[in-house]
Structures are given as C-alpha cells and as structure tokens.
C-alpha cells in the first residue's frame, strides 16, 4: 500500500547465472535461410526474382564464356575453331584478340622493349602515394609498399627490363620499404620529386630538364627566402614569379646546354605513342595531381570574403561544372589553338591533360571546400590568436586537416575522372575502350570482334575503380569514427 511495499522487495542475487545458448531456432543454416531469404511473402518473392535474374544471366552467357578460344590468329580462325569444337552454330568468346593485342590495350604504341618504364613509373607512383594515402595505418602502408615493390620488380623482369633498370627499381622500392618502416615522413620527399621522375620515366629523353626545373624551384625558394623578411606577400609573389620565369625562359636552353656537356638521356617516347590504359592512367594521374593545387586555390578563393575573388572563383567553378567534359575536350582539340598565340602548337595529350585538369580542379575545389567547411571555426581562431598570418595558418593548420578530411572525396573525383578518360576517343586519342578497339577492329583479322575487348577493358576499369572506391569508403568510415 505504501513505502513499505517497496522495501519488502529487496533482493540480492547470490549466484550469478551463466550465459546460456540461445533457443535453437535462433541459429543454424535453416534459420539463416528463413531470416534472410524467406522471412515473409515479399521476401520470398524477392528471393525468387533474384534467382530468376541469376538464372537468366547464367543461361544466356554461360555457353559463350565456356566456349572460349584463346589461341587464334584472326576472328575467322576463332569462328572455325568454335564450330569445329562445339559444333556448327555454337557461340563462343574469342579471347585470342586480347592475347594478341593486350599490349596495345595496356600500353598503346609505347615501344615494346620499353614497357618496363611505365610499369616502373606506376610502381613508383604507389611508393609516392603511400605516405599520402596510407599515412595512418602502418600495416596497410607496409602491405601496399611490399606488394607493389614485388609486383613491379617481377613485372619489369618479365617485360625484359635491362639489369641496370631492375637494379635501380629494386634500390628505390626496397629503399622505400625500409624508409617507410624507419622514418615514414621522409617518403614525402620522394612523393614531391615523383612527378619529375615519373615524367622522365614515361617520356624519357634527357634528365636535365627535370634537374633544371628543380633548380629553378630552388632559385624561387631562394628569392622567397630573401624577401620574406621584407614582406611575406611580396616574397611569395617573387618566389612564384622567379620560378615561372625561369621555367619559361631558362629551363629549356639550360637543359640543352647541360645535355650537350654531360649527356644524361634515355630513349625518348613521344606522347602520341601513348594509348590504352597507359594513356588513361597518365591523364588521370596527371590531371588529379595538377588539379589538386589548382583546386585548393579555387576552394580558398571561393571561401574568400573578397567579393571579386569569390565571384571569379564561383563563376569559374560553375562554368566548368556546367558543361560536359566532352565539350572541354573539344576545346582542347579544336579551339585551344585559337586562344594561344599564332604558331604555338603543342602536344594534344598535354592539351587534353590541361582541360582534364581544369575540369577536375572545379570538382576538386568543391570537395576541398567541403573539407574546409568541416573544420571547426576554433581552428581558424586559434591560429589567428597565435599571430599566424593567413597563408601560414592555411598551410600549417587548415589545409593539412582539410585535405585529410577530403581524401575520400578526392579519390571519388579521381575515379570519375579516370572513367572519363575514355572520352578522349572523341578527339582522336586511343583510349583503351573505344580508341584501341576501333583500330584493332580496323585490322582485317579482327574485324567484327565486339564483346571481348569491351569485357576485357571493362573488367580492368572495374578492378581499378572498385578497389579505389573501397579504399575511399574505408577511409570515410575511419574518418567518421575519428570525428566522434
């Protein structure tokens, strides 16, 4: 009736109850089936529908896959083999075309004896990316480094790389693995130098331009250093100007002179020999690498409280995002020559890379803007209160954090861009999907093959993009966890 009642219920457990197994219908394969596949009429229908879809796909495509021919010199021969082996009218896949032309799907017209160079450049790319993309988890970085080192070396050996190169690659890759274990931030130096190295490996030629570019950056840094006491802003402008002017004026001649004095060159490969996935990856990686700084500048400009700077950034970003990439590629191939001084003429691949960069930069700017916006205001205020000026605050406090948050977005942008590199076929470049396939089919032997190249190329795209998207999802999850 009252308080007393409550007091009578006092209770103390003397012995604890051990955990018991759940009732049987909670476990076992049958219960799994019941719960996951047949838990209700709707679910059952969906399951049957799913089975129907699977059955349809298998029944329609299985025999085609099963009747694969790997060894033939032409489509006609393929057809003949299929007819002989599985009877007249049988359908079958003619993978022989891939067997014969795989190199062009992967490397385009890159000289066959030099295939190891792109492979090496790609392997080094992994090393260069490791400290950036896999900076958090030592274990993942170790796996990535070791696997890519091993793969690169094996592939290079298979592709007949000379001993010198093998040794060079081995030193770099094993060195990277060791450094990653000992003092990972040093790998960043390699990341910074990688663009020059990668360009050299891919295009070959003299190493001097690379060295000269480095030297001019060094001079620009010197100029900055000299002036920074006077005015940081002025110093930055001066540093950039010195570097740019040296690039435009001095690097070329100086490199030639140096090359004459001390030859330091490997076989040059023109960019019109690039094709297939080599082209896609080159455009994709170059585009993303170049668009990152541009995107950062655009994002900062867009967040600026200076009206004009903000407006210009918005206009630029919205314009680029508002038109299809294909029109920008047209601009690269058809209009860029109108816009440049008469007589200038440069490589179509370079032009395409420029347009792709601009395109990606607009998207990148939005991604990075998101990262910037995700930083709490306190970080800006703390930087201000410590007396850091705008650029120092950005460089030391804001961007390192914002970029880290943005990595998943950057990876997604890269995936999109990488897929979009197939559009370069519309300006006459040999993308792996249509460009290479079209000229392969322009050959008499392979006229009429259709599905096999598509499946081959599609599978490679899928593997690359899927693994990247998984990686970015993994990052996203981890970032979300960290933010809590």
């Amino acid at each position: 009736m009252s308080e007393l009642h409550a007091q009578t219920v006092s209770f103390v457990r003397e012995t604890m109850i051990p955990p018991a197994p759940p009732p049987t219908r909670q476990t076992g394969a049958l219960s799994w089936l019941r719960e996951n596949l047949f838990s209700g009429p709707v679910n059952t229908i969906l399951t049957l529908l799913g089975l129907a879809i699977i059955w349809f796909l298998v029944s329609h495509f299985w025999d085609w896959f099963a009747h694969s021919v790997w060894n033939a010199a032409s489509l006609a021969e393929c057809r003949q083999i299929i007819a002989e082996t599985w009877g007249e009218g049988a359908r079958g896949a003619c993978w022989a075309v891939i067997r014969e032309r795989w190199n062009q799907y992967l490397f385009g017209f890159y000289p066959m004896e030099l295939y190891f160079r792109p492979v090496m450049a790609f392997g080094f790319l992994m090393v260069a990316l490791a400290p950036v993309l896999f900076s958090e988890s030592l274990q993942i970085r170790r796996i990535v480094l070791i696997v890519s080192a091993a793969l690169t070396l094996v592939l290079m050996a298979v592709l007949g790389a000379p001993m010198v190169w093998l040794a060079f690659a081995a030193v770099v890759m094993i060195g990277a693995v060791v450094i990653a274990e000992r003092h990972a931030p040093w790998l960043l130096i390699f990341s910074v130098l990688y663009p020059l190295l990668g360009i050299w490996l891919l295009w070959g030629g003299s190493l001097w331009p690379q060295i000269m570019v480095l030297a001019s950056i060094g001079l620009g840094w010197l100029a900055w250093k000299l002036l920074v006491r006077v005015s940081p802003l002025l110093a930055m402008v001066a540093g950039v100007l010195v570097t740019l002017i040296l690039w435009l004026v001095a690097v070329g001649p100086a490199a030639e002179d140096a090359q004459r004095l001390i030859p330091l060159a490997i076989t040059a490969v023109d960019s019109d020999q690039f094709g297939g996935f080599l082209l896609s990856i080159t455009i994709g990686v170059a585009g993303i690498a170049l668009s990152l700084p541009l995107g950062i500048i655009l994002a900062l400009a867009r967040r600026s409280d200076m009206f004009l700077v903000h407006t210009l950034a918005v206009m630029f970003i919205e314009f680029i995002r508002g038109v299809p990439l294909i029109t920008l590629l047209f601009v690269a191939s058809l209009l860029l020559n109108y816009f440049l001084p008469p007589g200038t003429n440069f490589d179509i691949i370079l032009r395409v890379i420029i347009m792709v960069t601009i395109f990606a930069a607009a998207y990148m700017a939005e991604v990075i803007r998101g990262g910037l916006a995700a930083l709490p205001r306190g970080q800006y205020e703390a930087a201000d209160a410590l007396g850091l000026d705008y650029w120092k605050a950005q460089r030391l406090i804001i961007l390192p954090q914002a970029l880290k948050i943005s990595i998943p977005g950057i990876v997604s942008t890269f995936i999109g861009m990488f897929k979009d590199t197939t559009l370069v076929v519309f300006v006459g470049l040999f993308d792996p999907l249509k460009g290479v396939s079209d000229f392969v089919r322009a050959n008499f032997a392979w006229k009429g093959v259709y599905w096999e190249p598509f499946i081959f190329v599609g599978a490679i795209f899928f593997i690359i993009c899927f693994s990247m998207s998984r990686y970015s999802m993994f990052l996203e999850r981890r970032l979300r966890r960290e933010h809590r």
């Binding site: 719960e35 679910n43 969906l46 508002g322 109108y338 259709y450 599905w451 190329v457 599609g458």
Partner: protein, 418 residues
Amino acid sequence: MADISAPAATPFRLSMLLYDRRYRSMTIQVFVFILVMAFAWWLVGNTIQNLRVMGKDFDFGFLGQRAGYDIPSPPIPYTSDDTHLRATIVGLLNTVIVSVLGCIAATVLGITVGVARLSNNWLFARLMTIYVEMFRNIPLLLWILIVYAIFTEVLPPPNAYRGEDPAASMILFDNVALTNRYTAIPSLGMTNNPGDLDLGYRILINWAVIAFAVVLIGGWFLRKAVLNHAQKVQDATGDRPVTWWKNLAIMTVPSLLLIWYFGLHLVPPELKGFNFAGGLNVQNGFVALWLALTLYTGAFIAEIVRAGILAVSKGQSEAAFALGLKPNWTMNLVILPQALRVIIPPLISQYLNLTKNSSLAIAVGYMDLRGTLGGTTLNQTGRELEAIVLMMLIYLALSLIISGAMNVYNNRVKLKER
C-alpha cells in the same frame, strides 16, 4: 547609450594599401582583376589574330544556312532543307527529352534499388549491390555501347516478323514489336480529331493534347483540394476521411471522358515494306542511351537514397515506434521528410551529370545537341569556334537552370538550427 561615433579617420598612407586590412583586400582584388582581365584580353587578342591568319571570322551566320542532313525521328518537323539553327534546336530538344526521361527513370530505379539494398533479403540486397558497383565503376561510355550492342545483337530485325511463320512475334497483344532498330509501339489514333494548334515555325500541337493537359492539371489541383479537405477534417475530428477513391476518380474519369469524346484508340504498328509503319518507331539509339543513362545514374542515385535513409538515425524511427506510430506512418511522417533533405541536393547534381552525360549520345548515333550542333553542323560548316562556344553556352544554361532549382529547394528545406 551613446550613439555611433564615427571612427576617427586616420590619414591615408601608401603603405596602407598593403598593410591595412581594409585597403589590402582592395589591393588584392584590383590586382586579381587586372590579372584576369589581362588574361582575357590576351585570349581574345590571340583569337582575333588567329582568325585573321586563318582567314576566318566569328560569325553565327552559318546557323541560317541549309543544314542538308537528316535527323532520325525529330521531335519537331525537320527536313534536310531546314537551317542549321533548326537542326540545333532539334538537337537541343533531343538532349532535353533524353535527359528528362532519363532523370525520371533513374530516380525511380535509384529509389527502388536504394531501398532494396537495405532490404533484409540477403540475396536480393547482394544482387543490387553488384548492380550498383558494376555501374559505378565502369565508364558510362562502355555501358552505352554495351546496351546498344545488346539491342542490336539480341533483338530480331523487322524482317523476322515477316512471312507466314515469322521468327519473331509481337508482344503485348500484337501491339509492340521489339526490333534491333527501334521499338515499334502503337500510335494514338483519333476518330474525332479536333485539329492542330499552329505555334508557328511549323510546330503543331494537337488540341486533344492541350485538352488532356488541361484536364490533368485541373485534376491535380482538385486532388490537392481533396487532400486539403481531408486534412481539415482530420484536424477537426481526428479522423482522416478515406480519399483514395476520390483521387482515383478525379485523375481518371475526365481523361476517360476525353478518350471517349475524341475516339482515342491505339493504332498498332504494321510491317510495311522494310519497316513497321502506322505506329511509332522509337529509335534504339535513343532507347539504348536512355537505358544506359538510367542504369548508370540509377546506380549513383541508389547510393544517394541509401545513404539518405541511413543518415536518418535509428533513434528517429525508434522514437516514432515508441510513440506508437505504425511503420508506414513512421516512414511518411518521420523518415522520408528527413531523408529527402539529405537526398535531394546530391540527387539534383546527379540530374546535372545525367544531362551532361547525355552528350555521349553520339556513340549510339542519337542526334542530340552534341550530335547536331557539335557534330554534323560543325563538321559541315567548319565553324568550330562558333559551334563549340554556342554548344557550351547552351549546356551551361541547362546546368544553371537545374542548379538554380536545386538552390531554391535547398533554401526551402534547410533545417533550422541554432
């Protein structure tokens, strides 16, 4: 309280241009402006000079010339004698048509798949995941080509429908013929044709279409009125009157009456000569492009929808259940309104992407803006500068319209926060 006393004016010194916050931003902006202007001036200067060197000019006069090429199934009357301008408009309309239909279908597909991925049916959820991953990670161009190739390779040619014992037969009660050129569907015939409204420029709209439009729009408003009324009744008495049959009647009865009045009937396609005639032949290029765009964008939308639903925390539905709300009310009153806020902005940028991606139409020979203005017209007239600039501007305008709509929506639904 003292009023604003103007800050003491400090005398202006030149160094303030760099070191005074107020002037510094001005200085930077002027500097940026000069830089941008110089760059623009340089571009324009180069262009003028280049045009002179090549002996060309910048002139849109070519749009008035005879186009000379044909466009399959133009949405407005068009022949090869029409001008490039009209060809451009046809292309633009084609772009808009495939984009709009693509957006609608992709939304439906995306929502279905997005929800299916959340279903607790293991098999189906997996299948949907495979679909989404396949389409997200393989270039769109490949999908367009594949879908198109499937259409050409798998479907029978119109020929197969010929003869006593045809190899293929029409479906849906002999109304639809799927061929590897087009899908022949019935067209609408009228026994009581009210004639056309001439909009000028050889654009005709049948009065019956207008009548249907009026009836449907009217019905939509009426439906709103019914719902409002139901809401009022619910507010007053707590019980919500049943409205579905009223709505059904409002939406169907007037249309049925109109159908009866105009004597609307289906004219099934018939094989005449090489092709089906009588009905409508929907080009496979269009269908393939539409389907590929739908499947591709649908995969992205599915992810958006899934993320949107997942973004509404589990606590929300638990709170609703704890209050005694039934699952379907919980969905309608609690989950969806919140999920939509998360879903709509990325959804619209997918619409934007779809519209831009429709420029790949050329791969299947669908004559969209890129195929007409940026393709044949450009090629025949050699006016690349004008054609591409115009094409970019049109795409830009389409994008701005879409993103404008998005901004309006975003501002309307923004959650109020502290």
